[in-house]
Every structure is written in C-alpha cells, then in structure tokens.
Symmetry: C2
Subunit: 650 residues, 2 copies
C-alpha cells in the first residue's frame, strides 16, 4: 500500500516568468546535456563520465573496468530524479522512454541479493561494505531511493522503486543495530532523508527506523570509521588534520552537536535527514538538535547569498563568523542542501526564518551555480573574484571566474537540475486546515485546504496577486509569509485592506474562502544596504546591496577593474531599472531575459592620480562614479572579470 506523496507538500504547479526561464533551460539544455555526459557522448574536451558504461559492465553486458568516482552511479540516479520531476510539469514521452531504458540498465546491474553498486560489482563484491567512510555505497543507495520515489510518484511506474526496495532489504541485512550486523552509517549522508521519503510512500516503519539508526549511530564511541580504518590498514586523510572526524559530522553523536561542522554538503544532507526523522517520529530532542545546528549555520556560518562552506579544505565549515569572500568554497550543492534543510525545518514548524533562508539560498547561491543558458556550471560560488588571483594565488585555485562545462565530479549540475525541476515542492505546504505560502511564484494548487492561483513578477517586484479557485471548506486558513527582508507591506482581500501582524513570519487569514476571492499582497522592495555582524572579519566596513530576496553584485563588465577601489558614496541615491543584463555574450544575454539592475552613487579611489608609489602618506583621491549592480545569480555571464558583493561604505 503506497501513499501518493508526503502529507506536507502540496502539488503546486509552477508557471512563473522568472522560474519558467530557468526550468525551460533545464529541460532544453540540462537534461539532454547531462544524458549525453552520462553516456560519454559529449565533445572530446569534456571529461568522460563513464557512468552508463559502468552499469553495463557491472551487468556483464560490456567488458571493462570501473571508471570515474566511487560515487559515479549517483549521477544517473540524480538525472533520473530530475527527469521524474520534469515529467510532472513537462510531459515528454521520448524522455520517459529514455528514462525507462536507463532504469533497465540499473535493473540489469542489480545483484541477485539486491546489492547495487557498479564500483564494487566490477571490482569485487567481497570488498563491499568495507569502506563506509569514503566509498559512498550508502550515498549511492540514497540517491537511488530518491530517484525511485520521484519516478514512481511522477509516472506511477514501479520498476525503479522495486529495485530500490530490494537494495534497501539487502542493506537491512547488512547494517543495523542487531548483533552480527555492521554498526555503521554512511560517510556521506543522503540515505537518511531518502529513507524517510521511501517511508512516506511505503509506510513501512522499517524504512524510518533504518534512517533513525543511521542518524543516531553516527559519532557513537568507539568510532566506527576509526575501527574500519584500522581493519583496512589505512589512515584517514582528515582525522589527523584540523577537521578531524568533524569532516564527517562524526566527532560525537548528532544530538550532542552544537556547531555545523565539516564538509558542508554532508552536513546539510545529514541535518535534513535528522529533521525528517524528528518530524515523522515527533522526536523533540532530535528536533532541538536540528534547531541548534540551524542556528549555527544561519546565525554564524552562512554567507549573505546562502552559500555555506568557508573553506576549500574539506569543502567545509570552519569557525564562527569566518566568511572569507574570495577563498570561500560555497558549493552549489551545499546551498541546495541548505534549501533541503530549510524545507524540512518548515516541516517541523512553520517559522518564517526557515523560508527566508530557503529563499535566500534559492534566489542567490543556488541559481548562481548555473549559466543563464543552462550550459555551464559553478561548483564554487565566490562573493569576490579577481581572475588574476584565481590564476596565480594557490589559495584561490578552486575559484573560477567563469562557469565550467561539466565536472569530473559532477555533483552540482544534476543537483541544480533536480532542484529546479521540483520547485513545486517548495512553494507551499498544507498543514491541516492551513495552506502556507512560503515562496511567491506564479502557479496554482488544486489540492489541500485551499485551491489558489498566484500571479507575480517576483522577484522583480513584490506585487503578488492570488485568486481563490474553488470555494473552500469552512475553517480553511491562508498563511502568507511576510519575508524577513520586508519592512513594509500591504495586504488586501477583495480590495479591502487587511491589518494583521505576522506571527513567526506568517500572516494568517481565516475566513470563508470563495471562488474568485482576490488576495493582493504588496511587499515593498526598496534597495537595502545590508551589513554583516561586526564579528565577521571579512565584511568589516562593508555593505551589500539587496532588493527583495536578491543579493546584488558589482561586475567588472559594468564598473571597470579594481572593484576593491570602489565604495558606496555617503548617500547612494539608488535607482532600480528593469533592463537587459548587458552585452558581452549575446547568446547568454538573450537567455537572461530582463533583470532589475540597480544604480547607486559610488566613489572610486583613483589609481592614476595616486602615482606609482607602493606606500605613501596620502589618502587616495576619490572619483565620483555611478555604480551598476546586477543580481548576484547573474554574474559571470559576460566573460571573465572581477566581481564583488561586499563594498566598503565608508
């Protein structure tokens, strides 16, 4: 007996000018491109993936060795998950047939006992489950489960779901609390949240329990990874360094963890799973741990763009308020994981701060990861870039001033794809009688307490028009999020002004809703100067510009080189103009559509007037300049150049 979907998520169908553009890119460019990548059908200057070949070799249908990363299988699963989501709103029989054929490849590679991992199937099944720390078997299993649930929900087809269920059965015989089983947990989380999704469909308590087991076993003494390394005769790369077992969030049991630490993607994937289990099991101490880790990230370790992971070393969190803008890691996947975590915290409790961060990451640090034409991708999303430094400063070698075509470790592009194709799952949720609107984007919902259509040109304006599509049951409540960034707003229902105070970030409208009711929410969107906590060394004396949910940046293309020599004028006279992004790369610009650019008054310290001295007793002279700011997500679409988010204000 399978349930159709999470009881929390409402089937919003997205139809939004801002997001349609991104989503069309993904369908037109991303999914086919990725399919070609998985099949090594890209031009020769691209690193081959070998992903599908691995499956065929594991199935005995081809000869060869396993190539690519140990987690290469997950690329196919992520692609399938994205395809599944896209089929919900963009039916495509050809694509579905392709996906079905890929699923058959997976089926053929599954072992009789349910085991499924091409790396070990090709290299020797006797070695499986011997390196849980680094070899990603459970990580791949997690992505398989996510894809399986998504594909089942989208198409009603069970083949992938059955594959996943057989693998989970196998896993349950190998890992778990019972004597004789391996008392371990994955080096890279994801299976925790995947198993809860599986449980939501199967209602099989064992799936929820296994997730809970992985979560609570993590970090227990004696440390499994340490024992495993001793057995394997290897030395863990991280344990001797500054990160230690924090790299894996395994330094202590998760309920005792106070700070978000280690590899940022693993961290937010883990915390997402924890929030899922806390919700499903009503486990208040686990929920409390989630709140603590949420606060650690969003209060002390998150960039203004929703990027996380301050250091390339370990792709990891570092320490409180350490947020370097130029040596940042800020992996696209980590911001995506933060969106996952935020949505799950909303599942625990409806507080606007969760949706605020979800929105912050989505509109900034996530979509900055993709070129506007959907063809190139960032792993690393810096807030300050000097292309010369990327070339010559070894500490910035991971930072690129231009997006790359594909990656040997191709985690980010498919992750963007699966998030963008599933935006419907983030817009609103239903909890009993209440429909919560978390994000404002065009589209409609026909299930849950209230059927509703939204029309808006958000994020370019804050005008959101909602229409009730059907008479609602008595007691239906519409909860509208008032974003944390919004200082002034008006709300009308059928033309009548509503004066309400938001509670925890939401205004609750309870009334007899009838078909045709008009709700008009107007969120003021002035240009805002935003400052960082004085504890943040790297942003001291600097301010960023935001408008609505968007963080803005300066690019060399608009403002010349030496962006560090620019600063905000004492009075900035801001102007917001809807216009095209700019010129340099025509094709990309076309895709960008219009953006709201900002113009403000700035000052430039004059390098020519200064002369040639390296140090001198003279304050640099100022030139008045008009600065052009573009949305951060749109940077690096016009060639290589400097970029900065934070600009001095004194």
């Amino acid at each position: 007996m399978l349930s159709a979907s999470s009881n929390e998520i409402t089937g919003w169908s997205v139809n939004d000018p801002f997001w349609n553009r991104f989503r069309e890119c993904v369908v037109r460019e991303g999914i086919p491109y990725q399919w070609a990548a998985l099949n090594d059908a890209l031009p020769e200057d691209t690193e081959p993936s070998h992903c599908l070949r691995n499956f065929r070799i594991a199935a005995g249908k081809e000869q060869g060795t396993h190539q690519g990363f140990v987690f290469q299988d997950s690329d196919l699963y992520k692609w399938l998950e994205g395809v599944a989501y896209s089929l919900r709103w963009h039916p495509d029989p050809q694509l579905e047939a392709l996906a079905d054929s890929a699923i058959e490849e997976i089926r053929d590679a599954q072992q009789p006992d349910g085991y499924l991992n091409t790396y070990y199937t090709i290299n020797g099944l006797d070695k499986r489950w011997t390196n849980l720390q680094d070899h990603h078997e459970l990580y791949c299993a997690g992505h398989l489960i996510e894809a399986a649930v998504a594909y089942y929900q989208a198409t009603g087809k069970r083949m992938l779901l059955d594959i996943a269920l057989r693998f989970v059965e196998h896993i349950s015989t190998v890992l778990g609390p019972e004597p004789g089983k391996i008392h371990a947990y994955p080096g890279h989380p994801v299976i925790e949240m995947a198993l809860v999704r599986l449980y939501e469909v199967t209602k099989d308590e064992r799936h929820l329990q296994l997730s809970g087991y992985f979560i609570d076993q993590r970090g227990q003494a004696p440390l499994y990874f340490q024992e495993e390394a001793q057995r394997g005769g290897w030395t863990n790369y991280w344990s001797g360094g500054p990160l230690g077992w924090r790299y894996y969030q395994a330094q202590e049991p998760v309920r005792e963890q106070a700070d978000a630490v280690g590899h940022a993607v693993r961290a937010v994937y883990l915390y997402s799973g924890m929030a899922d289990v806390a919700r499903e099991t009503e486990d208040s101490s686990l929920a409390e741990a989630c709140r603590r880790l949420w606060k650690s990230i969003t209060g002390k370790r998150m960039y203004i763009t929703g990027a996380i992971g301050s250091s390339e070393y370990g792709e990891a969190f570092t320490f409180d308020y350490d947020l370097p803008n130029d040596t940042i890691y800020g992996e696209t996947c980590a911001s995506i994981g933060l969106v996952f975590f935020a949505r799950r915290m909303l599942g625990l409790e409806k507080r606007g701060e969760y949706a605020d961060v979800m929105e912050r990451a989505l509109y900034n640090g996530v979509i900055s990861g993709m070129q506007l034409d959907g063809k190139r991708f960032f792993y690393v999303n810096p807030l300050e870039v000097d292309p010369e430094a990327c070339r010559y400063d070894y500490n910035k070698r991971h930072v690129k001033a231009e997006r790359q075509k594909w990656f040997g470790c191709a985690c980010c592009p498919p992750n963007i794809i699966r998030l963008l194709t599933s935006l419907e799952d983030y817009v609103c949720t239903a909890a009993e009688d209440t429909l919560y609107m978390h994000l404002y984007m065009g589209g409609e919902v026909h299930s849950g307490p209230l059927s509703l259509r939204t029309e808006t040109d958000y994020p370019w304006s804050g005008n959101v028009k909602m229409t009730v599509l059907e008479d609602a049951a008595e007691g239906a409540v519409l909860a509208l999020r008032i974003p944390g960034w919004c200082r002034s707003w008006t709300l009308q229902v059928n033309g009548e002004e509503i004066h309400a105070q938001p509670s925890d970030g939401y205004v609750y409208l309870k009334r007899g809703w009838q078909q045709g009711d008009q709700i008009s929410l107007n969120l003021d969107m002035p240009v805002r100067m935003v400052y960082a906590n004085p504890a943040v060394r790297e942003d001291a004396g600097k301010a960023a510009l935001m408008r609505g949910p968007l963080v803005y940046c300066l690019e060399e293309a608009d403002n010349g080189a030496d962006l560090h020599a620019l600063r905000h004028a004492p009075a900035i006279r801001a102007e917001a103009v809807f216009e095209t992004l700019g010129t340099a790369t025509e094709h990309v610009t076309e895709q960008a559509g219009g953006i709201v650019a900002l113009y403000t008054d700035g000052l430039r310290e004059d390098r020519d007037a200064w002369g040639t001295e390296l140090y001198a007793e003279k304050v640099p002279e100022d030139q008045a300049v008009r600065l052009r700011w573009i949305p951060y997500y749109a940077w690096a679409n016009r060639g290589s150049g400097e970029m900065t988010v934070w600009v001095r204000y004194r």
Copy 2:
C-alpha cells in the same frame, strides 16, 4: 695574495643601545642554542638536526645514514658565518675553538677531489650533480664559501677558506661553459654572491667568471632543469603548476626578466649575486636587469614591513599588488635576502631608495623573525593574525601566532644570526673620498675617508650625533642619508645650520674635516599614517601607522580581540610614549627593554550592541577607544593573540 675585504664596505663597529640588545641575545642565546641544535643536544621535543652527525658519517668517523634535508650541511656553514662575524666584535676564544673544531669536522668530510656534501657522500657519490634543480649541492657550496670568507676575514685562519677553494676547484671541473661540463646553475641561488665575495678576497677572476656563468646560464633554452628531469625520470613538482619554472627564476634568461617571481628567497639571493657581478664587471645590462627587478619588488610586490613572498605555495611572489596580510608567506629569510639585495644595489649606485628598503626590512620584517629573548623564531611574518584562523583555516596553517623553538628546515634562525652579527657591514660604505652613512646606529669607523663616531637612540628618536675622530684628508665627503620617510630635518655642523638639499636621498657635506667636528642630524619623527597604492586590494580603505623607520601594529594584548572591528578615528591625536612593552611574558618583556608605544584615537564597532543577527540593515555602532600600538617587530612576545598592521581609516 688575498685582499682583506670588499673595497666598498667599511669596518664600522656597532655600539648601539637598540641593536646591542639584539646582538647580545644572539651571542648569549642564538649561537649556543644553534650549536646545540646542530649537535642534536636540544631537549627531546625539538626536531633533531643531525647536521654534525652527517659530517662525521660522511668522514667515516661514525656509522649511519644521512638525515635531515638535502641542504642540512648549510646550517653548519651559516652558524660558522655568524660565529665569524660575532668574533669581530665579541672575541670569545672558547667559541673560536669550538668553531675550529667544527671546521675540522668539515675538513674530514671533504673528498680527495674536493667535493663536499654529506648527502651525496653518504648516499653515493655516483649520484652527485644529477639533481641541480632541487638537491642544493651548489647552495651548500655557496654557504660554505660565505662562511669561509667570513671566518678568514674575522680570524685570519685559512683552513675553511682552503676547504672552500678546493671545492670551488672541483665545481669548476664539473660545471661551466666548456664542452664536456654540465651547463647548469643552482636550483637555489646563493653561490653567485658567495663567489663574488670569494673573488674579493682571492682576486681570482675565475671565481667572478663562474658566478657570472651561473647567472647567465639560468633560464637559457633548452632548459637544463627540464633535461635533467627527463634524464632522472622525474616530474618537476612546480613546472605543471601556476608558478612553472618561475619558481626557480629559470623561466627565461635573467637579463630578460621583468618581474620578481617565484620562490622569494631564491629570487633575492639571485638578484643579489647579479648586482654583485654587475658591480664587479661594470656590466650595465645586468645592472639594468637588477634595477628592473628591484622596482618590481619594491614598487609592486613588497609589504610595508619589507616582507616579500605573498603566497605559501612556492613561498613565492604572486602578481603585482597582490599583498594579502593574513595568508602571506613573508619568510624572515626573504626579508634578509632583500637586505642583501639592497646593500648590493647601494654598491651599484648610491640612491637613498635602496637604503630606505634596507632599513624598512631590517627594522621590521627581519627582526620580527626573532623573539625578543632570542629563543624563538618566525619563518612566516604575517601582517594580520587571528589565532583561531591559524588553527582552522587551512590556507593559514603556515601562519603562526607564536614563534617556534626551532625548525626542521632551520634556514631562518641562523640567517637572522648571521645578519645581526654582521650589521657593521650595512651601516656605511666608502666610495673613493666619500663616506656614505646608510643607517643610523651607534658605533664608529676608523678607516676609509673619514673616521667617525655616531651616538643616537634611533629608532626611538631621530637625533643623531656624529663626531669626527681624526683630521681627514682634503676632499673627504660625508654623505648622510635623509630617509625617504623623513619630511622634515635639520642638520648642524659645529652648531651651524646647514641648508642642503639631498641628492638621490643623500646630503653631501664636503669640507675640511677636523678631529672633534660635531655633526648633528635631527630627523623629525612624527607619527605617520601611511596608505597603500589603491591597486593593493588587501589594504584598500586602510592605513598603517609608522614612526621613523618602524611600522606599528595593534595587538590583542593591548586592544582586545576582534581587531578587525577597530578603525582609526577621523582625527587620531597621536602620542608617542617610551615605556615597557607590557606584561604578559615577564622574561621576554625584560629582554625587550623600552619601546616607543603609540596611542591614537580609534573607534570600535560594537559587537554587543549589534546583537545576534548575522546580516541586518543597520550600521554597527561605534565606541570611542584609545588604541595602543607597538612596533611591529615586537609583536607576539606576550602570548598568542590577534595582531594587525593595517587598520581601516574610514
């Protein structure tokens, strides 16, 4: 026929309250400590050097393997060089006997053919001269020569000089332009300047020619290091990275090099040798290359402290105006090498800018390398430190907030020792009838065109009193450097005001000098706010404080944590107070003697008043504070804490 010393350098005897303290430290602590280190007689928690043991094993007097770096021999040579200098002004028969015994150990390890290198003697002479790129045979030879010349000049004893001469004879049979010889040059320069010193003593033109050969062969195509690597079957670590052959300054012939690049110590050692050869051979194109490289360093790639080497990767220069304060390498040895280069540029031409940089490095980036009690040392001399970042930020792992006892790669401590013991060679030079005073420190000179005594409490004040000690020959000129930092000064001879304009940084006083003539130079030393060229990203919006030649810094011990939250008030009301350094580490403080501390008005962005938000639309509130600044060289003598040189001024 051996000449006594360079014809440029005048035998100044230092007797100066500021420098005596450092030099006494070196004699009391540094030289004995280093001797113990070379003999593995330090406490067990210190990394053993194995240096003397290597010599005994190479001589067949002990059994064992070579341990330590391939350049471990050079530590003993550098120690001997420092001892030699110290014996010139601090006779110590016991120390001299110790040095003589060490020289005998060296003699015993020399091969019948003159070859001398314990690494290859122990590991197989058949492999010698096969890895000039990285195995430091010529580097060790260079330091041997430097020690030999110094020891001969200090004591008149020839044993070490003869050892060096035999080795040079051997080298000449192996390397050189003639057919059948290896057409190569050292991976790590130093022998270039060493051979010129040897030439100054031997007047053997072949020594000068060999130096010139090494200089001009460097970077010639086909690249020797590439051929050598092919032959050896290894891949050069640097050549594939962003530095390439620039790491070795071998990317092109030196006369074509425009920018200071690669490993900073190697660079300035090479340039020093180039300047030496240019001077001795009156080679104007080589001199022009030196000027170009000088300008590259001092105009675009040097920190305000005279530190050089912006990147830990390659311990290297990076690109123009790239001067990060917190991820800097700034090796003590590199600043010492810059002092070498500066002195040699003064040998080419008397321009105050060379002495300015020599002084800048000496009073700041060099002596910051040593704890005030002479017992601990910095390799890396940052301009901004947060101890938490050093622990958790992998990019700053090379930066220490406290000096270390000794190093496995012990290049810096002995380098400081040999510089501090030979300060007499940097104070003044004689050129024909003119005595040039480059640095102001107490002491006297009795040879050259003018006999003179200086008394001063420089750098605490700019009052310099000079007394002529003997009637001088007609036409004798006294050239006094007016430091580049000095905006206002007065000069009196026998009480009579002299109004003169400096020419290229020197005021030339030509008169009949008689015994007892009094020269009084008063260099105004106000507190100066110094700004960096607007091209320097890392110092944008910041100012440093200087007084006289000293760069100042803020320490957490005086100003609390979160130094980045501090800035200069619009009007700083500076006060300079001669006082003790402070409290924390009593023993060190005692050694420090008095310092001039600066007090200025500052503002602190109030972290408590801000609250807990990570980002908000509010300018942080300011608290007025009084800042205490100490000389940069004296930082990190009171425990671990934050430090910064550059502070925001707006």
